[in-house]
Symmetry: C2
Subunit: 336 residues, 2 copies
């Protein structure tokens, strides 16, 4: 049953909650990305600059390509000391999380918080916290965070500017995705004037690939397949291939965009074998298809042009079922 | 012998030359790119909107990924009717060209013009025309063109906005290259509000790759080599490989950025075998190396972080000599 989205609180209300809190736990989502960690570090720094205690809680290690952010703020896998963490905390603050299912091991901790707050930009967010601000017209959670910080009249120092810029550049695919607006560019301009080191971000995120990654990409792309009248491209990475090349799963970032980049392709599907009965699925569309609907079919979600889900089953099963789901949507679209 | 750069004329002076001209020939450079053609089409449209006769002269066909621009303005390979073209023309206008050597077959025609004008952004431009404006702090020639049009107080219609945006997004590598500034982003924002179809540009330029191109990239990357203590990456494409995969040379766009994207790599060198005694060389640097100096050694030029040259010799000779030139520069840099 779909929940109806709660009405947004105002930035003034969100700001007041943050001003009143003394110890804040910032919650991030699994498969953390540049937008989530960039947003979280900018907020954590703003709160610490105010003399508050603030921490970022994470379910997993910081991926290599984001390790240039302020990772000292991050507490990783904090399950064993949940009780200690909550002691004295007056606010649990979720960033870039569309629902509590995005927390995995941190879910219960969030819901036990004396007060909960959520700042996000996903259209599927229904407002699961006590106080919520979902900027559905924003290209990135970091864009919402920028506007929040500006509305609170706090200084954006170079470290915060770099973190916010990281969220924006990664979630807009270097200002290329359809959600990008004139305002996105104006915010990028302001962040550069606040001292955002955009070149460092570019080098760390987009120009620090290992040789293994380059080889991996070659192998994955050489085995891609087209289906649904050439409107869909699918590729996959198995644990066996990672082992063969000495590569890790975070080295496949960007492959789904390569698939979408093929002429005539509307749907891009990329499958990552996490283990023998779990496959992480990334979905992208180019111009008109709604891949969030396909993500939802398998318990996931996201945006119209970029979504994902976690498939329970083997890689072979995921290939068959995702292909079927895309073919069905394409058939419905092309015959109506 | 190096020529000293002439002092820039003002936008007011450039604008006056354009206002006074009735028939304008716009000159583009060989190996035309998105910045040159985007700038040229925006200017051609502005001049035609004023009721003037204006044409874009090109040495070669419009590459497929730029065919969405206003190619009706373009006259291709016009060598045989040079005299006719010049008849009644009162201005030869070079765009994004650092020197007349960038015109090839069009060189003489340009220099025969009754009046010559050049608008560019390359730091190596010495001001070879009668009237010159070189925006050395601009990330793209299109950025200079935007400022010129604004200074002339002309309307930027959606077609012009899309063309200028194309120049900016391609010459900044999606706003990632070091020359990108806060102003670049503000101009992008304004262009989006003028109706630039940035999504169309993104799809045509970055998401319309053929399958052959994807396979080609895989093959090229799988044969890349590192040298100069892992600080340099080199790859190449031969005519034989193109023939084998049924691909064309314009399908290797972007490979040099993949090379630069490897961790630790400062120099990226990509060699394109044009024929058995001509190799087109693309050079990129990441953070500190000056590849325009290497380009110059072989009669080319460009920017500190992105340059190129045309090597006279075989692919094998180009590999040896470029490797030597890079190694020498790296040795000098790392020992000083």
């Amino acid at each position: 049953m779909e929940q109806k989205a709660k009405k947004n609180n105002t930035f003034a209300e969100v700001g007041k909650v943050l001003e009143e809190a003394k110890k804040i736990l910032i919650f991030t989502h699994v498969q953390i990305d540049g937008d989530c960690l960039g947003s979280a570090t900018a907020l954590c720094r703003m709160l610490r600059n105010e003399g508050k205690e603030a921490w970022i809680l994470m379910d997993e290690e910081v991926p290599g390509y984001l390790s240039f952010l302020e990772t000292d703020y991050c507490l990783i896998h904090p399950k064993e000391n949940h009780k200690e963490l909550l002691e004295g905390a007056d606010l649990c603050f979720a960033v870039d999380c569309s629902d509590p299912g995005r927390f995995e091991t941190l879910r219960d901790l969030f819901l036990q918080g004396p007060k909960t707050l959520c700042v996000d930009h996903h259209s599927t967010n229904v407002g699961f916290a006590d106080v919520n601000y979902v900027g559905r017209d924003c290209a990135a959670a970091a864009e919402v965070v920028y506007k929040l910080i500006r509305s609170m009249d706090k200084t954006i120092d170079p470290v915060m500017a770099t973190a916010i810029y990281t969220g924006m550049v990664t979630d807009t695919g270097q200002f290329q995705y359809s959600a990008t607006t004139a305002e996105t560019h104006r915010i990028a301009a302001d962040l550069m004037e606040c001292g955002a080191d955009f070149l460092k971000v570019s080098i760390e995120v987009y120009q620090s690939h290992t040789m293994a990654r380059v080889l991996l990409k070659g192998r994955i792309l050489s085995e891609l397949e087209l289906f649904a009248d050439g409107k869909a491209a699918m590729a996959y990475v198995s644990q066996a291939l990672l082992a063969e090349l000495g590569a890790t799963m975070d080295e496949v970032e960007g492959v789904v965009e390569e698939l979408r980049g093929i002429k005539g392709v509307e749907y891009a599907v990329f499958l990552k074998e996490i283990n023998e009965d779990t496959v992480r699925v990334s979905l992208r569309s180019k111009e008109f298809a709604d891949v969030s609907a396909i993500g939802k079919q398998f318990g996931g979600g996201g945006h119209v042009r970029a979504s994902g889900c976690t498939f329970k089953g083997t890689l072979g099963e995921a290939r068959t079922q995702l292909k079927k789901a895309v073919e069905e949507q394409w058939k419905a679209l092309s015959t109506c």
